[in-house]
């Protein structure tokens, strides 16, 4: 018996019992759809986090300096380490392009009627951010170098701004648009915690301002010395940008040596690490989550497979007489096995195809809702899902098919 004939036969049998076939493949279809959706949404999340890391730039080193000593009144003994770090980094020009504190400025910024205190997150139809409160940071004059930023209008923060406590700020492209629309922000005065701050420049956009990642350009940077008037705790985290990936190791080891001499180990400590570690970690987390969720979905596939086996056993019982007839007129055991295996594989394959369609829809809808981006399942996932469903059919079809082929022709012919 040739394969084409066997497929035709299997299709006939499946089509002949449409209702039952549909119910049978339900389990497979749900399982495949769930696996597809989960895997592609997770892939999308990885892709998105990668994009964010790339926009901020690579070769970044994070330096933490902290202290755990208190004076007699219970206040933490603090020291501004940044000037020393700044000078040291400037002496390492061979390896380092810049350094800046990284700290959130927990302040309210106001211009005209617009205030960060009462801004809501607003989205357009495609879930892109129209408006949102800006992220506010304290930085040095090298903030832009460390964060892949270039000036589009006006000027960048200058060393003198930091040194002389100038009340100035530079806006990210999206923040400029939110506060000033199409007007030129340079030279305008914004109120920050009631203090006048002059906008001296606007950075160029790093990401598409109409994309879901646009919030990355919605920020305002103040010289970190503005803390004197704006308040806020000690700055304990700093960013050092290495010249290239080859310089990373050298920079990290030299910074370690420098900080060992700088920080009093009895009252505090320090940490130096490459930022790509975060990216690796976030990828690891996402992989773990997708394994767990995928595992749960895989259980439904196994349950679906058992359903297939069950129905195939029923089919074999129902068709015992037919099997007897086929055996009597010359079907070999292998033909009977092939017939039922192909039928099970085809059932699951159909379930798989429907699952792939629904899973694709699911990942598009879910990625839009969760991540404001549209993700289609990767081709390898689609092919894998189909192969998996057919394999399930074969695995769970083996037992019923073997049972059918072991029927004795005489016994089978006697069945009602």
């Amino acid at each position: 018996m040739n394969i084409r004939q066997a497929f035709k036969m299997a299709w006939k049998s499946i089509w002949g019992k449409k209702g039952r076939s549909a119910l049978t493949i339900l389990g497979i279809f749900i399982g495949i759809a769930a696996v597809m959706t989960i895997v592609s949404v997770m892939e999308g999340m990885k892709q998105k986090s990668m994009e964010q890391f790339e926009a901020m730039g690579t070769n970044r080193i994070t330096v933490d300096i902290y202290s755990w000593s208190w004076d007699e009144e219970g206040n933490q003994i603090s020291k501004d380490y940044f000037p020393d770090l700044y000078d040291y980094c400037n002496s390492l020009k061979e390896y380092v392009v810049g350094t800046t504190p990284t700290a959130w400025a927990n302040v309210t910024v106001t211009y005209g009627t617009k205030s960060s205190a009462n801004m809501e997150w607003e989205y357009d139809d495609n879930w892109n951010v129209i408006s949102a409160p800006p992220d506010q940071f304290y930085g040095s004059d090298q903030y832009s170098v460390c964060n892949n930023l270039t000036i589009a209008k006006g000027r960048d923060l200058a060393y003198l701004d930091v040194e002389s406590y100038h009340q100035v700020c530079v806006l990210g492209a999206k923040a400029a648009r939110i506060f000033f629309g199409t007007a030129d922000p340079v030279g305008k005065i914004m109120q920050v915690n009631g203090q006048n701050f002059e906008v001296v420049g606007v950075y160029a956009a790093r990401v598409d301002p109409d994309s879901s990642n646009a919030q990355m350009d919605n920020f305002i940077v103040y010289p970190y010395t503005a803390r004197r008037v704006l308040g806020g705790g000690d700055i304990t985290q700093f960013l050092v940008k290495a010249r290239d990936s080859e310089s990373m190791t050298e920079t990290i080891s030299r910074l370690g040596g420098f900080l060992k001499g700088l920080v009093d180990q009895n009252t505090g400590g320090y940490n130096v690490y490459s930022e790509s570690r975060w990216q690796e970690q976030s990828n690891e987390y996402l992989t773990m989550i997708s394994l767990v969720l995928g595992g749960i979905a895989a259980i439904s596939l196994v349950v679906g497979g058992i359903g297939i086996m069950n129905i195939m056993l029923v089919t074999v019982t129902e068709r015992t007489r037919e099997i007897g007839i086929r055996r009597a007129i010359g079907a070999q055991r292998s033909s009977i096995v092939a017939q039922f295996l192909i039928e099970a594989a085809m059932l699951c394959g159909i379930g798989g195809i429907i699952g792939i369609l629904v899973g694709t829809l699911g990942s598009v809808v879910l990625s839009t809702l969760l991540m404001q981006m549209t993700i289609y399942p990767p081709v390898k996932v689609t092919i894998g899902a189909f192969a998996l469903s057919v394999a399930l059919g074969i695995i769970f079809g083996i037992y019923p098919a073997a049972k059918a082929s072991k029927l004795q022709p005489v016994e089978a012919l006697r069945a009602e």
């Binding site: 007897g324 007839i325 055996r327 079907a331 055991r333 022709p409 012919l413």
Partner: protein
Amino acid sequence: MASLVELRNVYKIYGEGLESEVRALDGVSLTIEKGEFVAVVGQSGSGKSTMMNVLGCLDIPTRGDYFLDGTDVRELTDKALSRIRNKQIGFIFQQYNLIQSLSVLENVELPLIYQGIDPIDRRDMAMEALKRVGLADRYRHKPTQMSGGQQQRVAIARAIATKPPIIMADEPTGALDSRTGLEVLKFLQQLNKEGSTVILITHDNGIAATARRIVRLADGKIVEDREQEVDWL
């Protein structure tokens, strides 16, 4: 030259050794030559169905030898037995045993499919067999849309589609009225005239009268084996 069918002291025993053991065939020896028309006659429980199963290679005897065209059937694998049933024997059953989900043509094609004949030749051969039983115009029908007599003719077409040397008919008229039953018997006689060896299993002496030779079974033993004048239909 070897006989077409040769049973030597064949036993088929169910539950051997138990008190309830049943000797469906109890030391049967029988030789059938090519071209014969043999009726195996017996009451129900006489062992005639078991005889048909053994002769048709559907069942293996418990003891004794069965040579089919010189081949010892007991030595054969399941695969080889399937091939014999496919090529050497055409079965006609009392209950027609057509597959209800397949069309008339597909039913007749089935043994040809298992022979691996390509679709075009297969269709020609099946249509030719259907023409012989006068049902060529009904090839697209489902068995359920046909009368009993028509279904049995489809079954006959299926049995002769592969042109097997042996036709084995188990109560072929049992489910039919007497007129359509006669048609079936007439057809069997016709096949025999054309050279097929026909083995007819029946409980009905009247039907057995259409065969040239009668083998009577009782309690698993052959009690009568004689040639007779035939009522040609």
